[in-house]
């Protein structure tokens, strides 16, 4: 089964094509890194996959079910999420808790299991002690970490991450990649991550998609060569 299936996708802003002939699949257990130069429409591709934008040609199929036959839960960290409004009235704990809502908790109280998941997520990014701080008082790196904690609290079947490690130090980044690899290998999660650190991540990911500029096109239009299989990461 495939969590994401992109078939010959093209996308244009007004009449200007930015993506053409994109096709790939993300299966349960895949850790796919998506790279490309600045302005290569990586975020645009993710937004097409999520349904936030509509492809001008081709299809995107996001599975409705996970590999166990339950409803697929998607966790998304957008590029801008860490630059949230400094005045937003929320503590770190409230924001990370909100990650559990889409786990059937929109209208129910969070239970012991939810609270444990929230605690572990905050501890995994070293933010447990900051849980009562207002999110607007955090530094850029800390905001990034709680965005990650929020997505781990959701415990999604499919992670869609748009440059989630911006502003994080090398050690935090490595821990984060290890955690993602653990999730893909041990828990069969699907991961699609936009990144610039492809040298760092290639040791953790198992597939690599690179968006490259189309030659001969008058526009800044990007396509992909292929979806390269990387050497199997060690567990």
């Amino acid at each position: 089964m495939h969590y994401i299936e992109v078939e010959d996708l093209s996308f244009q802003y007004e009449n200007e094509p930015v993506l053409e002939n994109i096709s790939f699949k993300v299966e349960p257990g895949d850790f796919v890194m998506l790279t490309g130069e600045n302005g290569a429409a990586k975020t645009t591709l993710l937004r097409n996959i999520l349904g936030l934008l509509k492809p001008s040609k081709g299809n995107v199929h996001l599975s409705a079910k996970n590999y166990l036959g339950e409803q697929l839960v998607v966790g998304y960290v957008s590029q801008q999420i860490a630059s949230f409004n400094a005045g937003f009235p929320s503590t770190v704990l409230e924001l990370v808790q909100s990650g559990r809502y889409q786990r059937g908790k929109w209208f129910k109280k969070l239970d012991k299991h939810d609270k444990e998941q929230i605690r572990r997520s905050l501890e995994s990014v070293g933010m447990w002690d900051m849980r009562f701080k207002k999110i607007g008082e955090l530094s850029g790196g800390q905001k990034q970490r709680i965005s990650i904690a929020r997505v781990f609290a959701t415990d999604p079947d499919l992670f869609i991450l748009d440059e989630p490690t911006t502003g994080m130090d090398v050690n935090s980044r490595k821990e984060f990649y290890q955690l993602l690899r653990h999730n893909s290998m041990e828990h069969n999660k699907g991961i699609l991550m936009v990144t610039h650190d492809h040298e760092e991540i290639r040791h953790y990911a198992n597939k690599h998609i690179e968006l490259v500029r189309k030659e001969g096109s008058p526009w800044r239009c990007f396509s992909m060569d292929s979806c390269k299989e990387l050497s199997k990461p060690h567990s």
Binding site: L50, Y76, S78, G87, P89, S90, E94, S98, Y101
Partner: protein
């Protein structure tokens, strides 16, 4: 003390208390969606609803509710069309609402113009028993909706993309919220006046936003601030014979100034 023996003042206090429970909830969501001026737009459009009711001889509150529901939906449609410059929808409908109100007033006789002044500035004596019951019903609905939909609304106001990815019907939620705001404005406008209704909805939440770290905290502190501001503003209005909407707004502005200075001086 004598004011408490008058029936119209008792109703004014009851109405103020009920508005205090509603205003911070709506105000917070409006501020977080960067739609603070939407209340202002809807209050201007409300005048067109009132003028229409007077012209065709129907209770203006009902025509008002009908008109604001239509405009609340239009606001969301325009917000989607002008996604990058969403405030354009506010500018368009505010001008259109005011223009329609003035034309309708021009068509009707002078009595409409006279009654319109009550809707523009608000008047304690205009509150009747039926309005109190409507307000009570509205308060129960808004508080219940807040309790039920607090979590989806938190995500929606935090980040629309995250809300969409989580499977929330963001467009429907926005339209329903606009409609609820419109109905609230239509009901409280005769009490506080069209010109100041948005200030009364926005100010308590704006003040408490600076005082609380948490989402629920903002609502609770906002309610306390609204109760203090509304009731003391009403007393001032009675004592000085000033318009209630303006008196309440100035009292809330005073609270805003005091909290800002205290926060600065004590670096809270």
């Amino acid at each position: 003390m004598e004011m408490f023996f008058y029936g119209f003042m008792q109703r004014a206090f009851q109405a103020s208390f009920l508005i205090s429970l509603i205003a911070p909830i709506l105000g917070l969501f409006l501020i977080l969606q960067r739609q603070s001026l939407m209340a202002d737009t809807l209050s201007h459009v409300s005048l067109a609803g009132v003028a229409l009711g007077m012209l065709i001889g129907i209770n203006p509150t009902w025509t008002n509710i009908l008109v604001v529901i239509v405009v609340a939906v239009l606001l969301e449609v325009l917000r989607q069309i002008y996604h990058t410059y969403s405030e354009i929808s506010i500018a368009i409908l505010m001008s259109a609402g005011m223009a329609v109100a003035l034309v309708l007033m021009g068509i009707s006789d002078g009595g409409a113009t006279l009654s319109m002044t009550q809707f523009l500035f608000g008047s304690i004596v205009t509150i009747n028993e039926q309005q109190i019951w409507m307000l009570l019903f509205l308060m129960i609905i808004i508080v219940a909706l807040y309790i039920i939909f607090r979590k989806p609304m938190y995500i929606l106001t935090f980040d629309e993309d995250t809300a969409f990815t989580a499977g929330l019907p963001i467009r429907t939620m926005s339209i329903l919220f606009n409609i609820l705001t419109g109905i609230t404005i239509a009901i409280i406008m005769p009490i506080v006046g069209a010109l100041l209704v948005s200030a009364i909805i926005i100010l308590p939440a704006a003040i408490s936003l600076r005082l609380s770290k948490s989402f629920n905290g903002v609502i609770l502190i906002g309610i306390v601030i609204a109760i203090i501001g509304m009731l003391s503003g009403l007393v001032t209005s009675y004592e000085l014979g000033t318009p209630p909407g303006a008196s309440i707004t100035l009292t809330l502005m005073l609270i805003f100034s005091i909290t800002t200075v205290v926060k600065r001086v004590f670096r809270l």
